[in-house]
Subunit: 351 residues, 2 copies
DNA sequence: AGGGTTTGATTAAGCGTTTAATCACCTTAC
DNA sequence: GTAAGGTGATTAAACGCTTAATCAAACCCT
């Protein structure tokens, strides 16, 4: 005498319409042979009765869960929001849900996380692996988002080209003496970026690469990087391969009385959330996460489709890597190279 | 002639052992009546045959998907990674998966995202709502992570108390003239923090609150906040309610030649990822996300349990809000108040 | 007009679990 | 010796959906 239809199911609908459940199913999925008018009618009543198909039932029957797994090696990564948002959006557009798992940087846990997702029935996985980690062969489609150096299906930002872009931009501003700041020399991504920058420099330009990890292992965490001295020696631009490092450089220079961008330019990578709001706001290279996620999800669904048809393990679609161009975001922290001042006390406000 | 047992199911196991499927199910779940030896034997063969129960089947039968939905309204929020990580961990510990949905800041999309999760069969939802948004009544258990001012089940950091803690700490360092920096006066969270700070100040202390949004609406985005002037006028500590703002304050002061922490202290809130690595590293109040997530998930599972038993809608467990204390993280950006200098040009390095 | 094809719908089986109901058997008690 | 009770297992139905197989009726063609 109370709840009329708490949540109608396919049979309820069929009964109410006086047709069979199969017909309703066909009408809604557009698969079998149903007359156009009936389809119309069924869809209408389905909508107004608030019918929601049971995903578990569908999953059980079809063997597809309609869920993608997103494995973040380290969820605390500052780029995570961008990635998660983009992947979720792309997946939702294709009618898929996104299950997350995090391996908190622990390489052992990474496979654990992957397994959890597989047990939950994820149809395929998007993996953002921990640095230097390889994703082993699991029995399901996988797409990796990383630097383009993975034997699997990979989609990544074109870090090398990103480096070139920012290098060229800075050259066009008249800079000739580069200090390139990296975090860890073991990172593929960072090395790609550094390589890109250097490859864009002509013969008359100088560049020096410093790795924060190296310096800190000597002088302790949070130590000075000696940038002010380098600026005094003639470096006009500090090119960090991450906004994290760019911020650090920016503050060190400002503390040392070097005016940014008048006396020196600072640039970063990744366009992290605070990059627009610091002063001066950071010039940086942004990854096109939306495109990366779109491609990743598309490739994944492709593989999932293919998996359904192909029984023999031989005819899986060949692994493919795609590079997505990065975008230069020019803000206030970069500008023209200062007029040459040969270690004379120039017009710039120094100590 | 190839795959021996691609993925055994309950019946396969039962057949191999010569018992019924029901017995296997009971043995594994420990529910029915099965002899201890048989349980032992079944569990053993289950394990070594690599048996993985089908979640969809279980979900279909029991009506529980074993999945929690995580709704992030304000995905740009820098705390997002911490929250997601903590929730995922807490849920995984309880054998639950986490499905994410993002409403990209759009308030209309928020309900859409919630619905997507419900359609996917989420047993319950953890919602981190967009500022000023209320979560409407959906037919499932919900826990909200927000400032403690929501009519629903809510768990939140005790922002007010956090404000008091940092206020007291700064008082103990001798500070008496506070500038409190907020972003938007419409944020509950920020208001709580500001209120907490002020409530901790004795009569002989002065405080002034400035809202960045207000200043920027007059002077344009990224404008100066006039902090250097305030420092000259005697303010010795700049208390931001977010590390984002603290960073901005820090840079503005450093650019103006104010030494932090010698001439003035700067503190923030949230312990964002870069807070330890800027120079000087930021003193801040950290939320205990792990605890918050634990409580949120626990309360959610509780509600899900209760929902199973209680038929009458009346006897749902009463909404409860919990506050989790924040943790003071002392780093380099704060220190003792400088010795009094009555607008005379002190010993500090200025312009 | 009657055999073949097309169209629009139905029937029924099955996906892998859980669980209430049932059953056979063994104890125990009177 | 037999009824009552306990124990350890089985049977069978159900969860909600998809889909191949089937079927009845309408259509086409010569």
């Amino acid at each position: 005498m109370s709840n009329p239809r708490p949540r109608p199911n396919l049979s309820d609908l069929a009964a109410a319409l006086g047709v069979s459940a199969a017909t309703v199913s066909n009408a809604l999925s557009g698969k079998g042979r149903v007359s156009p008018e009936l389809i119309e009618k069924i869809r209408k009543t389905a909508a107004e009765s608030g019918y929601i198909p049971s995903l578990p039932a569908k999953a059980l029957r079809t063997g597809r869960s309609g869920v993608l797994g997103l494995v973040l090696a380290d969820i605390a990564h500052p780029l995570f929001p961008q990635i998660a948002q983009a992947v979720e959006f792309a997946a939702a557009n294709c009618g898929y849900g996104v299950l997350i798992a995090d391996s908190r940087g622990d390489i052992a846990t990474q496979t654990g996380a992957i397994n959890r997702l597989l047990e939950r029935g994820a149809d395929g996985l998007v993996v953002v692996p921990r640095r230097g980690t390889r994703v082993g062969d699991i029995g399901r489609p996988v797409v990796v988002i990383d630097s383009p150096s993975t034997p699997r299906n990979t989609v990544a930002a074109d870090h090398w080209n990103g480096g070139q872009q920012i290098g060229q931009y800075l050259l066009s501003q008249g800079h000739r003496h580069f200090v390139i700041i990296g975090g860890s020399a073991t990172s593929n991504v960072q090395n790609d970026r550094v390589g890109g920058i250097r490859s864009s420099l002509p013969a008359d330009a100088t560049s020096e690469v410093i790795w924060i990890e190296d310096i800190e292992s000597k002088n302790g965490k949070g130590c000075d990087l000696g940038l002010v001295a380098k600026a005094r020696e003639g470096a006009t631009v500090f090119c960090a391969v991450s906004d994290l490092h760019a911020l650090r450089a920016l503050m060190e220079l400002q503390r040392g009385g070097i005016d940014v961008p008048k006396a020196a330019s600072v640039t970063g990578f990744d366009d992290l959330i605070w990059s627009p709001v610091v002063t001066p706001s950071l010039t940086t290279m942004r990854m096109d996460m939306a495109t990366i996620a779109d491609i990743a999800v598309a490739r994944l669904l492709e593989a999932i489709e293919a998996e359904g048809g192909a029984k023999s393990p031989s005819e899986k679609p060949e692994p493919h890597i795609s590079s997505v161009p990065m975008q230069l975001v020019i803000r206030q922290s970069s500008g023209p190279a200062p007029v040459r001042r040969l270690s004379t006390s120039g017009g710039v406000a120094v100590l």
